[in-house]
């Protein structure tokens, strides 16, 4: 056991059992998986991505890139599984079951380690240079299997997620000393303050050090001050992951205390001001075998000793280029760990630090470096050399090699905000540059370090150098990128830092370059004899740390993923076995009403025949409905529609065609003139676009027009009774107006139908006598049921959308969504009769004039009669002059079996179709091509006498 007898913030009264790679261990509440493993003497955690080298724990935080594990289950949820979890941030829980990733059968005996032997053949970008013969997939399978880290879980987790919006004057990110001070200051000034922090308790790095400067206690007191708690909305266990436009910060909160049923909560925080207090992370030093288990950041070793009471080794060697590591040296020594040596790359380390070491009996070697670590699955020696002569070496035995290459301020969020970090010679690191948004950085993330040494001094050391030593010196651990890879990239003229990154994959591992990027930039700068500034950083992409898909997309699931809109008739439809389907604008409605045991096709045909011969009833409520008020409505409609509306009489409606300015169909529908306003109807899917179009014209271009539009789509249900018996159905239901005589086609009248106040219109989308009854939503279901009851003697049949489609194809009514396919203009669609080119202007007119100027072959709507009376051609089928030809002539837009004609029919767009009625054409489908006769696009009642009857 390497657990220290005393100290740490673990709870020794709460032992926790856990399993790693099938073996049971014990840790304590307050441990991370990493600290618990170290406490049990487990050093080898996994294998690297490419060479499968043995890897251990390097850090004590979220920047960890080696110690990744797979969770195989927890006590709460034995089926829970999660790949690529950092052992260093995974809170230990009882019953936690984890295993190593990317090695088989286990990290000790990993078959993939053979890659290490092949490594001379696998330099950076080797795959670009080989495997060109034959399909890449021949080789890719093996590469893919070797790549990837953890495994995707087999079953979904039983977790719930939440998305929440927050608004605050000040958002402080990080509850270390700098963040706490900033939050308190802001709160005292009267601002609303939200303070997010990724730890369980406030304090930041002070939680990890033993010897404070007095600040420690003060900050702890500050954090516990009840007055502070009132002023500040402090949200622990929350990582700010991205900084977006207009001071939007997204943060992930894990297992919030206020909602225990939530696993993760995704915050969208809008702040007037953002204060970044995210701290800094230590960086590794680059020497041969710097990836051996037991090679660890100095600050991490210190954290394990102080926070978790774990001795990460028994005999430590420190290798540093800066003064910050000495605090760790003292804490480890004081905890009883033997310090073999302190190797300081600086020629002249601070005297007081050397003296303090001496009093503890620790030797300091200035102007020296570790050029190599030895040992296979764990570090055994550090090979030490003088900087002035790297060939003069000696070995120092150790089982822990602590390194400190300096500190990288966490400028990620600053960079997400659009700002550019700049290089600061003083601390040999990138620090925040000029703010672009209302944001400022404080504390260590601003380069203002608060170490327990008097001063901070650093001698930039990007790599130690080789000098005959063989072996790999890593700049990116997880992706196995070495200094040799950088050399190769530069040699081949991949000189931009972005090229280096992409070619070698340095910085693209799951730590997003937090550990290695600074060293990569440093090495490149050194090789090209430039300053790190000139090299520049690669762009930091959000998120700061990886965010679970559950947190991002798990809040709205199942049927809530998209709104569903209902009509008042929806409950009736569901009760009566309707086959419901998507009908546009989030409405679901019946596509057909099958009788028990009936096929879909027969249900569709049965309803069509009922409409042609008797009566049908159709719920048209989803149609868009807008009231237009004001004296200038006629003027507006004349501009909106291709035809005239100013001469429409009160009580009458007219079919209109609305175009976009590019002359293509936007919508069609009937608009009525009422006593004191107008009522426009439009297609379900087009409604929101039409409303926007009208409001836009009125508010931007036609501001002189006095028109108000009011959306009444859901105010009015629309029940359509259709078929030759529809008049009789209404009469039988009870109606207080005369339905024949002067109630003509395209008229609308107020009436009382079956005791319900309504407006009745004679409009037809079926080609039959039809009455559309507009009733208030609250009355609609009762009215529907009354009409069904009244229609019983006439076998009134509910009609779904598919039947409606059959009826419109038989009649050759154009649908803007199908025949209007962004190429078709109204003339092509056979709607020229409704286009009044003599009007001075309407939206789209000038583009239609352009179309008429050009003599290019256009596609026209035609009808098709397939020669096989049994075969319904597929919608979308191509039209060809003869079988096997590639001379594309058009395509089928709508096709069905016509129960009325008892044969298949279709509508199509065909090049020069108007001139080709009577011709034969080949309809080319995926499975079958057949001949068809081109006809007029009207198959039934071409004169329209039935709907006017």
């Amino acid at each position: 056991m390497t657990r220290l007898q005393h100290g740490g913030s673990i709870d020794r009264d709460q032992p926790l059992e856990f399993t790693f790679n099938g073996k049971r261990y014990q840790g304590y509440a307050g441990d991370t998986l990493a600290s618990a493993l170290l406490a049990n003497g487990v050093r080898l955690i996994g294998r690297s991505f490419k060479y499968h080298r043995p890897r251990g724990i390097v850090t004590a935080g979220g920047e960890e890139t080696n110690a990744l594990v797979q969770i195989n289950g927890t006590a709460d949820d034995p089926g829970f599984s999660e790949p690529n979890v950092r052992a260093t941030t995974l809170k230990l829980t009882h019953g936690l079951d984890v295993s190593s990733v990317n090695c088989w059968p286990n990290p000790n005996l990993d078959v993939g380690a053979i890659n290490s032997l092949l490594s001379p053949l696998l330099p950076a970008g080797f795959y670009y240079k080989t495997f060109m013969a034959g399909p890449w997939d021949r080789y890719a399978g093996a590469i893919r299997r070797a790549a990837g880290l953890g495994r995707v879980p087999k079953v979904p987790a039983k977790k719930r997620y939440e998305r929440r919006y927050a608004h605050t004057d000040v958002l402080v990110i990080g509850a270390g000393p700098a963040g706490l001070r900033a939050a308190l200051e802001a709160a005292k000034s009267g601002a609303s303050v939200m303070l997010v922090d990724d730890q369980e308790t406030p304090g930041g790095h002070l939680l990890d050090v033993k010897s404070g400067d007095g600040n420690h206690a003060a900050i702890q007191a500050l954090a516990a001050d009840p007055q502070t708690a009132d002023l500040i909305n402090y949200v622990p266990r929350t990582t700010a992951t991205g900084y977006y436009d207009h001071n939007l910060v997204v943060a992930v909160q894990r297992q919030p205390d206020d909602a225990p049923w939530i696993y993760e909560r995704l915050w969208h925080v809008r702040a007037r001001e953002v204060i970044l207090a995210t701290g800094a992370v230590e960086r590794p030093l680059v020497f041969v075998n710097n990836d051996r288990p037991g090679v660890m950041l100095a600050s991490a070793a210190r954290t394990y000793v102080n926070r978790y009471a774990v001795a990460p080794g028994q005999r430590a060697v420190f290798f540093t280029n800066n003064s910050s590591a000495y605090g760790a040296v003292f804490d480890l020594a004081d905890a009883g760990i033997t310090i073999g040596a302190v190797i300081d790359a600086r020629p002249e380390p601070e005297q007081d630090l050397i003296a303090a070491c001496r009093t503890r009996g620790i030797s300091v070697y200035p102007n020296s470096v570790v050029i190599k670590a030895t040992g296979k699955k764990q570090v055994a020696h550090a090979t030490i050399a003088s900087r002035s002569d790297l060939t003069r070496t000696r070995d120092e035995a150790c089982d822990l090699l602590c390194m400190s290459g300096g500190w990288n301020p966490l400028v990620h969020l600053h960079s997400h905000s659009g700002a550019k970090p700049v290089y600061d010679e003083r601390i040999a690191a990138f620090v925040p540059g000029e703010s672009v948004q209302n944001e400022r950085s404080v504390g260590a993330c601003n380069g203002d370090f608060d170490f327990d040494t008097e001063t901070f001094d650093i001698d930039a050391l990007w790599e130690v150098g080789h000098n005959g030593t063989t072996g790999k010196a890593f700049v990116d651990y997880q992706n196995d990128v070495t200094t040799a890879d950088i050399d190769l990239a530069l040699r081949e003229n991949f000189q931009s830092i972005e090229h280096v990154k992409r070619y070698t994959t340095a910085g693209m591992a799951t730590d997003q370059g937090k550990m290695g990027n600074a060293n990569v930039i440093g090495v490149v700068a050194q090789r090209l004899a430039q300053r790190p500034d000139d090299i520049g950083t690669t762009t930091y992409r959000p998120p700061f740390t990886p965010v679970s898909f559950g947190a991002l997309g798990g809040a709205d699931r199942g049927a809530l993923i998209l709104p569903t809109r209902n009509t008042p008739i929806t409950p009736w439809n569901l009760e009566h076995g309707a086959s419901m389907n998507e009908a546009g604008a989030n409405f679901r409605r019946p596509f057909w009403f099958p009788n028990p045991g009936e096929s879909d096709a027969s249900a569709i045909a049965r309803a069509a025949i009922a409409v042609r011969n008797g009566a049908g009833i159709y719920d048209a409520t989803p149609l868009g409905k807008f009231e237009l008020h004001g004296p200038d409505v006629p003027q507006l409609l004349n501009l909106l529609y291709t035809n005239r509306f100013d001469d429409l009489k009160v009580g009458h409606g007219r079919f209109g065609l609305m175009l976009r300015e590019d002359g293509r169909l936007l919508d069609d529908g009937v608009t009525f003139r009422m006593e004191d306003h107008w009522l426009m109807t439009c297609g379900t899917g087009a409604a929101s676009g039409v409303l926007m179009h009208i409001e836009r014209l009125l508010q931007t271009e036609l501001t002189h027009l006095k028109v108000y539009v009011v959306n009444v789509t859901s105010q009015w249900a629309n029940i359509c009774v259709c078929g030759p018996q529809s008049r009789a159905v209404l009469q039988s239901a009870g109606v207080d107006i005369d339905l024949s005589g002067d109630f003509k086609f395209m008229q609308m009248k107020s009436a009382n139908v079956a005791g319900v106040a309504a407006r009745v219109a004679r409009v037809s989308y079926t080609g039959e006598l039809s009455f559309e009854i507009n009733a208030r939503r609250r009355d609609a279901l009762a009215l529907w049921e009354a009409l069904i009851a009244a229609g019983k003697p006439f076998d009134i049949t509910p009609v779904g959308s598919e039947t409606s489609a059959v009826l419109r194809i038989e009649k050759g009514f154009i649908s803007a969504g199908t025949e209007g396919d962004n190429i078709t203009n109204p003339f092509d669609a056979g709607l020229g009769w409704i286009v009044d080119m003599d009007k001075p202007d309407f939206i789209g007119k000038r583009t239609l004039m352009r179309d008429l100027e050009h003599d290019i072959p256009r596609q026209h709507v035609v009808g098709l009669l397939p020669e096989d009376p049994e075969f319904v051609v597929a919608e979308g089928s191509a039209l060809l002059p003869r079988e096997g030809s590639r001379d594309f002539q058009g395509h089928v837009t709508a096709s069905c079996y016509s129960p009325t004609l008892d044969r298949p029919i279709a509508l199509a767009l065909l090049k020069n179709g108007k001139q080709r009625h009577g011709e034969e054409i080949v309809v080319s489908g995926l499975d079958r091509s057949i001949k068809a006769e081109v006809t007029k696009p009207v198959f039934y009642d071409p004169k329209g006498t039935r709907m006017r009857s």
Binding site: P156, K158, K159, R160, E162, R163, R164, Y165, A166, H167, S192, D258, A259, P260, W261, I262, H268, R270, A555, D556, R557, G558, A559, L560, L562, P563, T564, R565, N566, T567, N586, F587, P622, E627, H629, G630, P631, H677, K706, Y708, V710, N711, V712, T713, S714, Q715, W716, R776, R777, R778
Partner: protein, 172 residues
């Protein structure tokens, strides 16, 4: 605990009359009508009929009970007969919900990105709500709001609110 403490109920006896006109016209109307049309943006004022709210530069809602729907409509209609204005009954176009309880803030903060911190009692605003749209009346800040949604969305929004309030079970 498996949910936030909120009560959600449908408001069934609410009639809505929509008025669109210019601010000047509204000022004239206020002199003729038994209730006042608020001039401040996003404010709802109490009247003998119910709340009267200003929702847009040229739009007001008069809330009343269903039995007063026709009377309010007619009186507005009569008052605007010579004006450029639109008076429309929209009671059925919308469905109201009341969301009340000690814990409504975390529920509302999931349903809408509108900053409700700034909306005190008597505020009214329209915004994105429960993946569609809603008109939110703040009756008592952090305690009670009333939200009107297009009635075709009502069933969906009711289910959505239940879900974000934590009232529905976990996914198995």
């Amino acid at each position: 605990m498996n949910g936030y403490r909120v009560n959600i109920r449908r408001l069934d006896d609410v009639a809505l009359v929509n008025l669109r006109c210019s601010q000047d016209t509204a000022a004239q109307l206020t002199r003729k009508l038994p209730f006042e049309l608020p001039t401040a943006p996003m404010r709802a004022s109490e009247s003998t009929e119910g709340l009267v709210a200003r929702l847009a530069p040229d739009q007001w809602w008069i809330r009343t009970t269903l039995d007063r729907e026709q009377a309010v409509f007619s009186s507005l209609k009569d008052s605007t007969v010579n004006e450029f204005a639109a008076v429309t009954i929209i009671s059925d176009h919308f469905q109201g919900f009341e969301i009340a309880g000690d814990n409504i803030d975390p529920v509302l903060a999931q349903a809408t990105s509108v900053n409700l911190n700034t909306l005190n009692d008597g505020s009214v605003t329209r915004g994105k709500f429960a993946r569609s749209g809603g008109t939110i009346f703040v009756i008592e800040q952090s305690k009670r709001v009333q939200v009107f949604v297009e009635s075709s969305y009502a069933d969906y929004i009711e289910a959505y609110l239940a879900s974000i309030a934590g009232a529905t079970g976990s996914r198995d």
